[in-house]
């Protein structure tokens, strides 16, 4: 196929990506240096970055976002993989009953955030159940789960939303696994744990890697859920970005753009490092 024909066929896709994604990112980066900022001009190109690092809140928010993203993505991966494996081990006829696990995929993030408030509040349902189980004497003894630096509300809401996604991705990989390998392993006296960790896990690892990257970056830069769950200190980076973009003086908008530029750079570095690490791990497994 000729090159022009090739380009022409890709054009309906490339054009919107170039305009919205490509130019959008470029504007974000330019505005972070104070360029193209409507009628505002800045003497210092790095004004926004200096502003960010002048105070400790930025690093604390970044650390909090990192912590929430790491905790929720890895816990979702562990839980989702275990549940997908459990479904896969069921007889084929029984599997379709398990479709209810897809409910959180349909619920929007803002709905899941609302659910977390209803369930985890001091006078919420979990607290009421704990009271009836005689774990607490009154709601005042129930621990603060909402809007705290522990981020438990955010992490559990993300796990609820993301576990089914992991299940879909891992299950799609599992159905391609050749079951005869398990029979062979059984004949060689391999136990259930051994079969999972030596046979199944290496096979589904590519799916787990992709899913982890998607979830981690999505959570790290996600906005809807932290926005419903209210502001807390130090709070997620995305909320800080929103504050600088909408609520403060428009002259401070480069600060929001600088945070976004750093998030973008961080995402790229994260993907590169993760892919390299997982490739190296896979090589080492093969050597064994």
């Amino acid at each position: 196929m000729r090159r022009t024909q090739l380009t022409l066929r890709l054009l309906p896709l490339l054009l919107p990506i170039l305009v919205v994604f490509g130019c959008g990112l470029t504007i974000t980066v330019l505005q972070s240096f104070g360029l193209l900022m409507f009628s505002y001009t800045y003497d210092d190109l790095f004004f926004a970055y200096r502003e960010l690092f002048a105070d400790s809140w930025f690093l604390r928010s970044a650390a909090f976002s990192l912590y929430v993203a790491l905790a929720s993505s890895s816990l979702s991966i562990v839980l989702g993989t275990a549940l997908a494996y459990a479904i896969w081990k069921l007889p084929v006829r029984q599997r379709h009953f398990t479709i209810i696990y897809k409910i959180p995929l349909v619920l929007p993030h803002i709905a899941v955030g609302f659910l977390a408030v209803v369930l985890l509040a001091k006078t919420g349902i979990v607290s009421a159940i704990a009271y009836h189980l005689a774990l607490i004497d009154s709601f005042e003894h129930f621990p603060d789960l909402l809007y705290t630096p522990s981020g438990i509300d955010l992490i559990s809401a993300y796990i609820y939303k993301e576990t089914p996604f992991v299940m879909v991705m891992v299950y799609a990989m599992l159905v391609r696994f050749d079951r005869r390998q398990i029979d062979t392993a059984r004949m060689l006296w391999a136990g259930g744990m051994r079969i999972f960790f030596s046979l199944i896990l290496p096979f589904i690892m590519p799916a787990i890697n992709t899913t982890f990257i998607i979830l981690f970056i999505f959570t790290f830069g996600g906005f809807d859920l932290p926005f419903v769950l209210g502001d807390s200190f130090p709070g997620m980076l995305s909320i800080r970005i929103y504050d600088y973009f909408f609520q403060k003086d428009i002259a401070l908008r480069p600060v929001a753009m600088a945070m976004l530029t750093l998030i973008f750079g961080f995402s790229l570095i994260f993907i590169a490092i993760y892919l390299r690490l997982s490739a190296r791990l896979a090589r080492e497994v093969r050597k064994l």
Binding site: R9, I27, F223, F227, A256
Partner: protein, 262 residues
């Protein structure tokens, strides 16, 4: 069987129980600590629905409009590239495929805030067209993957046959390719719809308040003290898409039966 019961019980506890809480909340008059089941029920939330039905209907309609618009635009964007990726190999193909997944891997905020500036210049900020465009750029990877997989499930002989019989490429697309791609198209469209219909931030940023959206409508209610109304409205997020899926599933089934394809 015991294993199935165990897994199902776990799934109900993890994924269904939170919904039961929403349903109970929606019909309770007040749910005070430490009741596990609310003590009294009333229809206050339904009355709210009746009073505000015009606003709710308008926001739902607008949300559905831009969500279906996004399905159509992502389809137009990806149909030719999907065929290209499924049927031909060319230099730099895998690199290009990787690059085309980038919008799914970068936080949307990072380019959406810059894109807002461009949309202002182009005059499509605060319009439904702008909302559809930004949602399409966020969600097309799902459509692209689904359609590419769809093209891979059948060979190009069907199309060659149609072309040999003198059908134009346009007619081949409509009469041969789209019917064969239908299952893949529905799979992709489902995800695109869910992503668009659920999105709060991007619609708020690009729509700027002039494009009504259901997520924008219920957002202030989620933080209000009246959990009953918020619970009922949240359930709509679940009921509406599932009703759509069910209807489409039935329609397709009947269409296939009529043509003897099932």
């Amino acid at each position: 069987m015991i294993r199935l019961t165990g897994i199902l019980a776990l799934f109900v506890l993890l994924f269904v129980c939170p919904l039961v809480v929403l349903v109970l909340n929606a019909v309770s008059s007040s749910w005070a600590f430490p009741e596990i089941i609310p003590a009294s029920f009333d229809l206050r939330s339904l009355r709210y629905l009746a009073v505000h039905r015009h606003d709710i209907a308008l926001s739902l309609f607008s949300s559905c409009l831009y969500s279906f618009g996004t399905i159509i635009l992502t389809f137009v964007m990806t149909i030719m590239p999907a065929k290209l990726f499924a049927r031909t190999s060319f230099k730099g193909k895998s690199l290009l495929e990787g690059f085309l997944l980038a919008p799914a891997l970068i936080p949307p905020m990072a380019f959406a805030m810059g894109a807002h500036f461009i949309f202002l210049r182009l005059g499509i900020a605060d319009t439904i067209g702008g909302v559809i465009l930004i949602l399409s750029v966020v969600s097309y990877p799902y459509m692209l993957r689904a359609l590419t997989a769809g093209y891979q499930t059948y060979g190009e002989n069907f199309e060659l046959c149609a072309r040999n019989l003198g059908a134009s490429s346009w007619r081949t697309l409509l009469m041969v390719e789209i019917p064969l791609l239908l299952p893949a198209l529905i799979a992709g469209a489902t995800i695109v719809f869910l992503v668009s219909f659920s999105e709060y931030f991007l619609v708020f940023l690009i729509g700027g308040g002039s494009v009504p959206s259901y997520s924008g409508y219920i957002f202030p209610l989620l933080n209000s003290s009246d959990k009953s109304v918020a619970s009922l409205l949240t359930l709509v997020f679940l009921v509406l898409p599932i009703t759509f899926f069910f209807l489409i599933d039935r329609l397709i089934y009947r269409a296939y039966r009529k043509r003897g394809m099932l």
